[in-house]
């Protein structure tokens, strides 16, 4: 299993993502956004950060970086693409995932651990998560309010495309940190091979970091090949 971590100008979680993939057993390489080639890779990760300084809209400029054509091909060929935080924002701007990410309802940059309730454990990203397990992982974003129109939201739920919702420690609702529609923290594309999420699983892979729950996502991904 060989993973690519795409590096945009302004990415700042690329090293975290590299480290997480590496300790979970993947061969990893950084891929600069100006390159065009993803041949030989089995997984592509778009890391968090502030690509292009979040100018215009988060992810709006990075979405037209040369590498994104290759990422789109990679995704269309059915291979797994994981976008975290700014990576998620880039994926929605690129149209590889539905919806948009807007400024947090409370206008704050929210940086804390949250609990995530997995909504579909039958995917290549989530299959290693035990039944009933919530994931405790950090969020760190100012623009994570997920929004889609009502029809699309219903379709996402029906298709099992909602990956995670924010929850309390006991799995109940009302823990929404940013005003996301229906507490949505992450979504899949219709085919289930692209996942975007605001929380950072790569920052929750060692007990030293306060949680190891992010490992379930990497375990799911790395065991599927």
């Amino acid at each position: 299993m060989k993973s690519a971590v795409i590096v945009f100008p302004g990415s700042n979680c690329d090293h975290d993502m590299f480290h997480a993939l590496q300790i979970m057993g993947s061969e990893v390489e950084y891929v600069w956004h100006k390159t065009h080639d993803l041949s030989g890779f089995d997984l592509v990760a778009l890391p968090g950060g502030f690509s292009y300084g979040d100018y215009l809209r988060c992810g709006a400029i990075a979405r037209f970086s040369p590498i994104m054509q290759a990422v789109t091909h990679f995704a269309k060929s059915g291979k797994p693409v994981l976008g975290v935080c700014n990576g998620f924002q880039i994926l929605v701007e690129a149209g590889l995932l539905p919806g948009a990410l807007l400024r947090n309802e409370n206008l704050r940059f929210v940086c804390k651990h949250v609990y995530l309730k997995p909504e579909n454990r039958q995917t290549r990203f989530t299959r290693a998560i035990p039944d009933g397990q919530l994931l405790r992982v950090p969020i760190a974003h100012g623009e994570g309010r997920y929004l889609v129109d009502g029809d699309t939201a219903a379709r996402l739920a029906d298709n099992g495309q909602i990956a995670f919702r924010y929850a309390n420690a006991d799995g109940t609702g009302s823990a929404n940190p940013n005003g996301s529609m229906d507490d949505i923290a992450g979504v899949f594309n219709a085919e289930g091979n692209v996942l975007g999420m605001m929380p950072h699983p790569e920052r929750a892979v060692e007990s030293l970091l306060g949680s190891e729950d992010g490992r379930y996502i990497f375990e799911s991904l790395l065991s599927s090949n």
Binding site: L56, F64, G99, E105
Partner: protein, 85 residues
């Protein structure tokens, strides 16, 4: 020539930034102001020599493709009056 592109959040979408500014205006006593919504004003410098139809096409496409996001925003394009720099 200069062309102004105004990009706004769709009316149905909550604008917390506008809301916060509105609250501040209320505290300052501007009680005639009932609401604030904040968008973007983008000024394009467009070649005067370009064919008008082609110019219009490019401005429109640029706005749809990059300057705005149709999922959450609407836009207006206003051609400027020859005040090019």
């Amino acid at each position: 020539m200069k062309v102004a592109v105004k990009v706004k959040l769709k009316p149905s979408i909550l604008d917390p930034q506008g809301k916060a500014v509105h609250q501040a205006l209320q505290q300052l006593g501007f009680d005639a102001i009932n609401g604030v919504r904040i968008g973007k004003f983008i000024e394009l410098e467009v070649a005067d020599s370009a064919d008008p139809a082609e110019r219009e096409r490019q401005i429109e496409e640029a706005t749809r493709k990059l300057l705005s996001n149709p999922v959450m925003e609407v836009f207006e394009i206003e051609a400027g009056e020859g005040e090019s720099s």
